[in-house]
Subunit: 219 residues, 2 copies
């Protein structure tokens, strides 16, 4: 069995898949697609993912795109350790938490959106950065309210990390990329800290990827 | 067992849940939250969904938000007819198709985003409408390319509709709301036509909801 991941150091969605693979102890090769330079629109990559985005996982020659679809698939074919709880209501809560970020917050800040803000609405670099921080804050705020309602114990769904923890860790990693302060999101910050204490999360952080060091954004 | 759905006639995500419930022949009561007037931010609704969005499903007193989480849950507790295939690779493909719209295209056109475009970037009504059409077109284009690679037979995953068909039907319904022409998306248009030939889809269309008739947008 071989696993390849088309990803990128800065991609929040690729981060989620890196963590899922690491938690399940599955070895993989990552192929960098520089989405900041538009490489996701190269004709060769359109064959890999007609949606022109990362991540795409290739598992024994079978391609899967979209981070949520990839993580659910990995949980079905390699069930241990579980990244979704067994109980249907708990699974629903895990997915709901994950989607607050994967479907509501993060899609608003991806490269094609940032580019279109400039092209169609004349937004300058500062306005685009502000847009990204606004929606990242919005997602973190919602997640903070959800954690206040049901505090982590110690992870979002209980004793082990799930797709819900992976998603919030990814959003926090993105906040790191935007150099945002998490002081107003104490529950989120504490949960992310517990996540990043685990090597599977720490090693997947954008700043730990080879592409970051080569990007010129490293500080 | 009682089911309540907090939804709205115009919400693409609420449409998806209405279709899923109807395909499974589950009776429900829909409670309209006027997201165009900002009712999702009312303090009373924050208790229902701290994410300030529709849909939220209430199943025997248990609340679930996010359309993908709701549909997965319904498929787990009421498995027939299946809205996700049984095979893991097919499930992954169904989720991947669904997420192209639910996680990439649709989140860019929801009311809070349209509002912020005006507030933060000074976009006028025409620019906001253009933004919505752009991202709706982008999602439909990706889906068209995915269908070209694997043509429907007759539905996206095979003989019966799944979450993938529900998602594209919702996006097409939204295109109807924006009065868009689907001529450049022949596979999408044909698939949506097959979906809307089924009462579960047709009855869930925004224009068939009581709220539409009362909205003043009806033509």
């Amino acid at each position: 069995m071989t696993i390849q991941l088309y990803g990128f150091w800065r991609s929040n969605a690729a981060f989620r898949v890196r963590v899922a693979l690491a938690l399940k102890n599955l070895a993989f090769e990552e192929i960098d697609i520089d989405i900041l330079s538009g490489r996701q629109f190269d004709p060769g990559f359109a064959e890999v993912n007609p949606g022109h985005a990362v991540p795409t996982l290739v598992h024994d020659g079978h391609r899967i795109s979209q981070s949520a679809a990839i993580i659910e698939y990995l949980d079905e074919v390699h069930p241990e350790p579980r990244l979704l709880p067994a109980d249907p209501r708990e699974r629903a809560h895990a997915r709901s938490l994950a989607m607050v970020l994967a479907a509501d917050a993060h899609p608003l800040t991806v490269p094609r959106v940032r580019k279109y803000l400039g092209q169609a609405l004349g937004a300058d670099k500062a306005a685009i950065e502000s847009w990204c921080r606004h929606w990242t804050t919005d997602g973190l705020s919602t997640y903070e309210r959800l954690l206040a309602r049901r505090p982590p114990a110690p992870f979002a769904l209980g004793t082990t990390p799930t797709i819900a923890d992976i998603s919030i860790a990814g959003q926090v990693a993105l906040a790191d990329v935007y150099r945002m302060d998490l002081a107003t999101f104490p529950e989120v910050a504490a949960l992310a800290k517990r996540c990043f204490a685990l090597p599977a999360f720490a090693d997947a952080h954008p700043f730990r990827q080879p592409g970051y060091k080569a990007s010129g954004e490293a500080r």
